[in-house]
């Protein structure tokens, strides 16, 4: 197990370096001169030059990359626009995204597992077809349209819930459901598939041959084995929710990190975009790693397979 963990941690290093290079480069290919944009419309060429020097924007790209990484590690990368430490801007926004994603994953995992179990146990019946039909429905729904529809119904027509912003617990309901719809559909499908797979195992057939009641087989043998891989799915989906919340946040005006990045793109706040995108990618990679570890603990076959 220790070897498995160390191996995975070592594999993390090139990925993280790659992520930092890609996020550094993508931002530097943006057309337009950041110094000119920062200096404002009425700036003289001298102002632009001063700003360029101050932020090191006149140095070669490789030097800028190392300057950036150095500043990042020592924790003082500043937003080009507000000149505050980027992490100071990102962290509170990230906590909002985290809050939204957590509520969302709780709702979608509960719904997904529940309906997945029903569909799997009642396989090839109308209940199964209904659940599976709905799950493809959920996957096909554009999040922002779902958001608009929920807003139309519950905020505009019924007036039960607020249309956007952040405040009381009521504010989180619509965005959390919107964000989690596709996820609950995916979890339902995976749960069903796993249950069906376990049903095909020899030991289940043996259990039937022994005359154990179907109810007991389902609860005692099928669910226990089928739900282990679901941990992985839920964990991975949680990572996707964190990274993919930008659209939901935009619809509902939720002050999360995705929205912060989307807003910064229009103000060309290079460093904030860089660190923001990188931050989310790193969190995403770390969550995947944690999920792998959890899975290896739950299912010993995995760690022997990858040694």
């Amino acid at each position: 197990m220790l070897r498995f963990i160390i191996r995975r941690l070592l594999l993390l290093i090139p990925i993280l370096i790659g992520v930092s290079i890609v996020s550094f480069l993508m931002v530097h290919l943006i057309p337009g001169d950041p110094a000119r944009i920062l200096a404002g419309q009425n700036a003289t060429p001298e102002d632009v030059l001063a700003i360029r020097e101050r932020f090191g924007l006149d140095k070669p790209l490789t030097i800028q990359y190392f300057m950036f990484m150095k500043a990042l590690i020592s924790g003082n990368v500043k937003s080009l626009r507000t000149e505050k430490n980027v992490m100071e801007e990102i962290l509170p926004r990230f906590l909002n995204t985290l809050q939204l994603s957590l509520v969302s994953i709780i709702i979608s995992a509960t719904m997904g597992i529940f309906f997945g179990i029903i569909a799997g146990v009642k396989r090839n019946t109308w209940v199964d077809n209904l659940v599976m039909g709905f799950s493809l429905f959920g996957v096909s729904m554009p999040v922002f349209w779902l958001g608009i529809l929920l807003m139309l119904i519950f905020a505009v027509k019924l007036g039960w819930l607020p249309a956007g912003g952040k405040g009381t617990w009521k504010h989180i309901i619509l965005p959390a459901i919107t964000l989690g719809m596709a996820t609950s559909a995916i979890i339902a499908r995976m749960t069903r598939a796993n249950i069906l797979q376990v049903f095909h195992q020899d030991y289940i057939r043996t259990a039937y041959a022994f005359g154990i009641s179907e109810r007991k087989i389902i609860y005692k043998y099928v669910l226990k084995n089928a739900l282990i891989p679901i941990v992985t799915v839920v964990g991975l989906q949680f990572g996707y929710l964190l990274g993919g919340a930008v659209l939901t946040e935009s619809v509902f005006g939720w002050p999360g990190v995705g929205r912060l990045i989307a807003d910064s793109i229009f103000t060309r706040d290079y460093t904030l975009i860089q660190v923001g995108v990188m931050f989310i990618a790193v969190i995403f990679v770390l969550i995947n790693l944690l999920v792998d570890f959890t899975y290896a603990i739950l299912d010993p076959r995995i760690r022997y397979g990858q040694g």
Partner: protein, 292 residues
């Protein structure tokens, strides 16, 4: 060799027939196929179907509800929403199809090469894709769109970049399983070179999962186009595009709720079509999974 080729062609035809029969039996795949065909027809015949020019502004008709004159009502500029939804199919399908084709070709080729040659080629290609896959797709697309600016060509690039690794993964694992077949050993034994084996035997035989993926990716690409459009990063206005129109609808939701319905419904239906089709294709191509 010639005889072998014609035999292979007959076998391919037979497989196509079997798959088609299975799709015809699968109701979901049918619904998916009809929905997709429906939207393709709409996209092709948009100029004939739509009653107005989708970009023509009539400020005196601004924000009207659905009526006989304007089936889906009008937006803030007085443009006919029905015509915009029809033309929107053209925008989305065209861009998605090009993006998916490009990523299918590049992705499955690289994936096949990685899977077939293995060792360090495999490591280099797949590790690079791991880095790309570490970025949540929508953020990667947002970043690319900002770099390149709005426009069809840039949208295609942004979508392709996050689809290529997906195709590569699928193609690679498919190639890995095909590679173990005896006929590959046989081809090697009669002295065929590695590239010839790759292109003549391995790629054609590992194509099924890639095809399923292509249908699913069309759905993702259309969602991506509209998502970016919704954030103001999609096609250049005033090109009719569903996501862009929905973001406009959000501003006038309280005065003109009808604006929030139809473009979204169109996205939903076409995406569902491709998802159902992909799912049905998957069942048709992997009959073993069907009873599960």
């Amino acid at each position: 060799m010639v005889r072998g080729d014609s035999l292979m062609k007959t076998a391919n035809l037979e497989i196509t027939n079997v798959i088609w029969k299975r799709i015809k039996k699968n109701r979901m795949a049918q619904v998916g196929a009809y929905l997709t065909i429906f939207f393709i027809i709409i996209a092709i015949f948009a100029p004939i179907i739509s009653p107005y020019d989708p970009t023509e502004q009539h400020f005196e008709d601004s924000l009207q509800g659905p009526s006989w004159k304007h089936f889906f009502g009008t937006d803030i500029y007085g443009r006919d929403v029905f015509s915009r939804v029809i033309y929107g199919a053209r925008t989305s399908l065209k861009i998605a199809a090009i993006a998916v084709s490009i990523s299918l070709i590049i992705g499955s080729l690289l994936g096949a090469i990685a899977g077939f040659f293995g060792r360090f080629i495999d490591e280099i290609i797949m590790r690079f894709f791991d880095i790309l896959l570490a970025f949540p797709s929508i953020l990667l697309a947002i970043a690319i769109m900002t770099i390149l600016g709005a426009g069809d060509k840039n949208l295609i690039i942004a979508l392709a970049v996050y689809s290529i690794p997906q195709f590569a993964r699928i193609a690679r694992s498919s190639v890995l399983s095909v590679k173990r077949n005896e006929y590959i050993d046989a081809a090697r034994a009669i002295g065929e070179g590695p590239w010839s084996i790759l292109f003549r035997y391995i790629i054609p035989n590992s194509f099924a999962p890639v095809l399923v993926q292509a249908s699913m990716r069309m759905a993702t690409a259309i969602l991506g186009i509209s998502g970016l459009g919704f954030l103001g990063l999609g096609v250049k206005p005033p090109t009719p595009e569903w996501g862009t129109d929905l973001s406009l609808a959000l501003t006038y939701l309280y005065v003109a709720p009808h604006l929030g319905i139809f473009p979204g419904l169109a996205i939903f239906l076409v995406v569902m079509g491709f998802n159902y089709l992909g799912d049905g294709l998957n069942d048709a191509l992997n009959p073993r999974l069907k009873d599960r």
